[in-house]
Structures are given as C-alpha cells and as structure tokens.
Symmetry: C2
Subunit: 183 residues, 2 copies
C-alpha cells in the first residue's frame, strides 16, 4: 500500500494519535487505511457416511484435497458464503446444520470457519477452481494429500464426533512459525 | 475507493474475468482491490453472578452499554483480540473459557464474536473509549440502554444457559433492513 485510495497522494506509515499500532495514513486527506484479517468460510458436507472433498486446481496447494471454502464477501452472512463456495467449487447444494469449526490463523491474518451440512442430492461436479470432486469415507480420506491444516483438523474432529452424534463448535488457533512452515 | 493503492492511478469498477462480482480494478497495474467483511471480537466477562459492561464514550451509540469488543487486528488470534479489547476498553484482565456467540451482520459487513470468560480479579476501570465500567447482575442489566443487538442477544443467551451451566456456541445472523433500522 503506497497511495491513498481516497485522494491518490503518497501514504506514510505512522501510529495515529490514540492508537497503539502503525497504520497507513494519508497526511493530505487524513484518511487512516486500516488493514484487517479476512474471513474464509466453507462447508463439511456429508452424504450418508461419506464427506465431500475438492481437489484444488489453483495455487496455493494445487492438486491437494480440501473442503469447499473461500473468502466471505461484503453483504453476506458466513453461512451464505459457505453455501455459495460449496456451489462454486463443487457444484453441490448443501443443507446447513450448524457452525462446526472456527480457526484463527494469525500468521496469514485469516479467520477460517466451517459449517456442517448435508448434500441436498448426490450431485456435484468440479467448479472453475477445482480439478475433481468426490465423496470419501473415513478410511479413504487422502490424509497425506490434504491442502491445509484447518481441513485436516476439521475432518479429524468430525470423524471423532460422529461416533457420539454430537458436534460441538470448536474454536482453535493454528500457530505456524513462518520460518519453519512447510506449506 | 477512487485510486489504486499500489500505483496511484484511477480505479474502475468492473467484474474481473472469472469473477461474479464487481470489484475496484486498476487497469494500469492490473491490481484487483477486494473489499471484505471485518471481524469484531470481544468478551462476556463474569465475576461471580455479575457480568462486566462498558458504557461507550464514542460513536456509534455513545452513552449506551456494551460488552468490551473491537476490530480484530492483523497477526492476532480472535481470542487474543478479545482479551486485548477487554483490557483497552475496561482495563480488565480476563481468563477466557471458550467461544460463545458468533454473529453475521451482512448489512454492515461484519462478523461479531464473543468469548466467555472470567475476571482474573475484580479490578477494572474505563479505558479511552469508555465512559464507565460496571458489574451487573441479571436483574440490573440496562436492557433498554444496550448499544447493539449482538450485545443483547449474547446476554440473553448467557443468562438462559447459566441456568444449566451449559454454554453451547451459538452462530446467528442479524438481518436488519437498512431503511427501517433504528440503530
């Protein structure tokens, strides 16, 4: 961020009066340009004893398996965003049950949330950013080819919780040392 | 948003290839400037049978009572943000138990989340954006002077759930017709 999106003048980095953090500030029009974490929302979708996974066709982690998810849009509820992303990535219609997992990923300034749901019908196909889509039983999950830690943790919790048919919401942090991260 | 924050040229509004929504796009450097919802994070803090409320000293809703909360910062977990805001607004140290409520507010493109916690000690005072801070028992809550619907709903759930000592996470939407909203 170099230029003020309001007036086009050059920005400086400074701590505004009363603030505790450095921000991008325009000295010309006095606008403070805050930068905040983004929300990723998606679904863990079941059909009988299997769950829906998408094989990514875009970076990062192209070729690896994920749950359908993407950035929440302005004017959208988190649940509506999760339903939309499931349609866009897996061309699947989901009936949402409830929020299931919520992760903070401070190293990339993201909040990730997954809703639990069921396929409205066993119909799905690869969306634009997806190579293939499939339903996987627990023993067939490609654990070594999952795209992200949030996907692995959500699936692990799900198969455990399913034994009791009780799915409490789980809020967790994913703390990754940037210097050591493998993906 | 009028100017590109990367190169300073004038932006246009258009739907990028492969996208379904209009974005601010720079035709000069090809940057797409996405705008996404922001996350507000805070705490419902108890001390014995009372809960901590802050009377706001800033707009919006200056003079009305709220739970300590504010915008999540980059590089921060949602829980750490809730603890920080409780310190900044109420000068209170909180021991967090768990996530409690999560609200989508699509009319203002916000995700609001509250953690449940306990005061580490019965010590608090008004921070810079707060007029006063107090502990309130259920019968003393100023229901008609609460700042926001998310505060009211979180408190209502809390006093109900407290009867069973069971506090499931609750994910809800607050849908407000802009034309009819009173606050």
């Amino acid at each position: 961020m170099k230029y003020c999106s309001s007036c086009g003048q050059t920005l400086i980095v400074t701590t505004p009066p009363g603030d505790t953090r450095e921000r991008f500030v325009c000295e010309h029009c006095d606008t403070i340009h805050y930068q905040n974490p983004r929300v990723v929302t998606g679904c863990l979708v079941a059909w009988d004893d299997r769950v829906l996974l998408c094989r990514r066709d875009i970076e990062p982690r192209s070729g690896y398996w994920t749950l359908p998810a993407g950035f929440l849009e302005n004017g959208e509820t988190a649940e509506a965003g999760a339903v939309r992303e499931t349609w866009e990535e897996a061309r699947a219609r989901v009936l949402v049950d409830d929020l299931y997992t919520l992760f903070s990923l401070p190293h990339i300034s993201q909040i990730y949330m997954f809703y639990r749901g069921r396929l409205a019908a066993p119909e799905f196909s690869a969306g634009e950013e997806t190579r293939e889509v499939g339903l996987f039983s627990e023993e067939d999950i490609p654990w070594d080819e999952l795209a992200f830690p949030v996907v692995r943790q959500t699936l692990k919790h799900y198969f455990e919780d399913r034994q009791n048919d009780h799915f409490p919401v789980r809020a967790k942090d994913i703390i990754i040392d940037r210097a050591r991260r493998r993906w």
